[in-house]
């Protein structure tokens, strides 16, 4: 039972709706602790951005972005497949978000 040393292979991050800017992230790990799915793990190097280990399991609720104290460090990027059509009422011009 103990033969495993618990390796981890990072999850595929496609369809993952969060991006982290390493220049702005202060490594506080609040996002790690708030996530109910446990997508992230703390970086072994203190002060560095969290590791994204289980991206496909993200429930896409945004709590990680909501608790981030560093403006712009963690951003929500909508999945391409979730783009919707909007329309400016005054010009009847469509745009997609």
């Amino acid at each position: 039972m103990t033969k495993k040393n618990s390796d981890v292979i990072p999850g595929n991050s496609s369809f993952f709706p969060v991006s982290i800017d390493p220049a702005l992230c202060n490594g506080c790990n609040r996002c790690v602790e708030v996530c109910q799915v446990d997508v992230f793990a703390p970086n072994p190097e203190p002060g560095k951005p969290p590791l994204i280990l289980f991206a496909p399991e993200c429930w896409q609720e945004g709590s990680c972005v909501a608790v981030c104290p560093q403006k712009g460090a963690m951003r929500w990027k909508r999945l391409l497949v979730h783009r919707v059509r909007c329309r400016h009422k005054d010009t009847a011009e469509d745009f997609f978000i």
């Binding site: 496609s14 446990d38 793990a41 590791l51 896409q60 709590s63 919707v84 909007c86 009422k89």
Partner: protein, 645 residues
Amino acid sequence: MKAAGMKWPYPVEWDKTEYIETDVLVLGGGAAGCFAAISAAKKGARVALVEKGAIVASGAAGSGCDHWESATTNPCSRISPEELTETMIRTFSGYTNGISHYIECREGYDRLLDIEAMGAKVRDTDDEFKGADFRDEETKLLFAYDYFNRFTIRVWGSTFKPALARECRRLGIRIFDRVQATGLLTERGEKGTRIAGATGINTRTGKFMVYRAKAVILCTSRPTRLWLFSPDVPGISEFRPFPCSGDGQAMAWRAGVEFAMMEKSVKGEWSGLRSFPPYSTGNNHNTWYACNLVDAEGRALPWVDRDGRILDRFADRFRPAEGQRLYLKGGGEPSFNVYEVQGPDTPPVNDLLRQGFKLPFFADLASLPEMERKIIWGMMVGEEGKTKIPILRAYGEAGFDPEKDLIQSYGDGWKSGSFLPQERQLFGLPGGVVNDWKLMTNVEGLFAAGDTLYASNCFGHAAATGHYAGRHAAAFAARMEAAAVDERQVAEERRRVTAPIAGENGTDWKELNTAITRIMQNYCGAFKSEELLVTGLKMLADLETREAARLSVRNPHELGRAHEVLDILTNAELVMEACRARKASSRELEFTRLDYPEIDPPEWMKLVTVKRGRDGVETDSRSLRYFGDLVENYEKHNPADSERV
């Protein structure tokens, strides 16, 4: 930042076991679990709270909740708890949980006041909506849907879970975040005997946890991923959170707990990449009620009452029809399309097309009265779970302006996706464990609350039943000695839980989950029969014996996921057995038996119950009204001095 191949970032404790002793053990730390822990602690019990995620934001309402239903005792309500509960019972032809919904109606508003006292925001204290039709100027409460009867309150639910977590810590509750419960411990390790505790695993370290408790409360939501699973994006397989895998139901089934209505499932409403994120496209229901819709050429869609009469005035969307006592939400909610409680809505799409309206339709927030626009976009969309960041902020950053722009509707109502009849889910008051007036199950000392109960739904229901189960469990624990934990049962559970660690190159949990959904779609889909169900059960048993035994994992996190899928497998068996037990079709349960096609024959208008006994599955039944008179029974079990804690 992506990780390269690396060692697991937490200490690995596969070989360690931690023993905890407590009076009341709460499994699941969502709305129900936190309220259960809080009320048990306030009654003086030692409480341990076990949560797979982290209680600060876990559960279906972890990131928010925009309205609180059934708040009939708020000072502005024109409906009594008894009237609303009886209305719900009639609406669902008796197939609802009279006990839990009466608790919701009678105590739900008190729980809202509790959560406000903990620091959450439940009224318009900033006067943002001063003068709005939906606001009571004295209490500053904001109402939704039926502005005349005023029993649904709009709330700032993103403040709720953090407030509950703070309160749990303040009360000294022992919180075990990142621990996934795996099994119930019972006296002598037998099915149906008194509860003795539970086991779990820490999904970061792999440590095995043994909890010894006098009373246990199951607050583990409801099973998902039985028919719907998206291997590429498993996290969004269903509307309920990904970690809601029915662990509590599975361990309760293994322990001999009685279930009702597990044969009920509905056609899928939301899943994976086939749907848009909830509330993110144009619609006029639920969170978006009662938004204006326009057609492709900008013509406003009409609104009608339950009789099809055109509603000319905007305010008519928020009051019952002539001669109607009340309505439950707006139209478009299939469960509430019962004439007695049917609310205003836009006509069905086919009717609109016949009238010359052109697809696609768009939500037109811009043409709403200012307060109605602000309450939908900015408050409801913002405070409802999964909306603050993924929709309100993200759309704003992308340039969407609610005062100037339209958003297209993709499909009928809020759903935005379409599904095949065999792609089903447990939704809209599905089945769960059977409860008595103390919210105790047939296993002595095992209580349940929230979505674990049969026919349950919503934050207010979870909060009220959690609090109620917590205080009754504390009272139970206060008068009982702890049952002895059976060490053989602990050892067997430890062996079962840790088995996948030893596997090499075995079955992956995602593949197993996918296989289960295929069996459920093929043998327990829209049409059931004895032959199909028996075959399905054989296939599930085959999966369990041959493939589940070959599951392998690489780290504690994957061990948790593997056990979720094993629990999903157990829940699939439970659902199929419940389907076998009802030998009649049922409209209310959306249940079609090819071999028993008669719909709702009078002798089958009852709760059919199933449990796993010593010698196999045992079926039984209860009257739909087994809970008796609401007021009389509530007062008998809740003397005046016991209600407040």
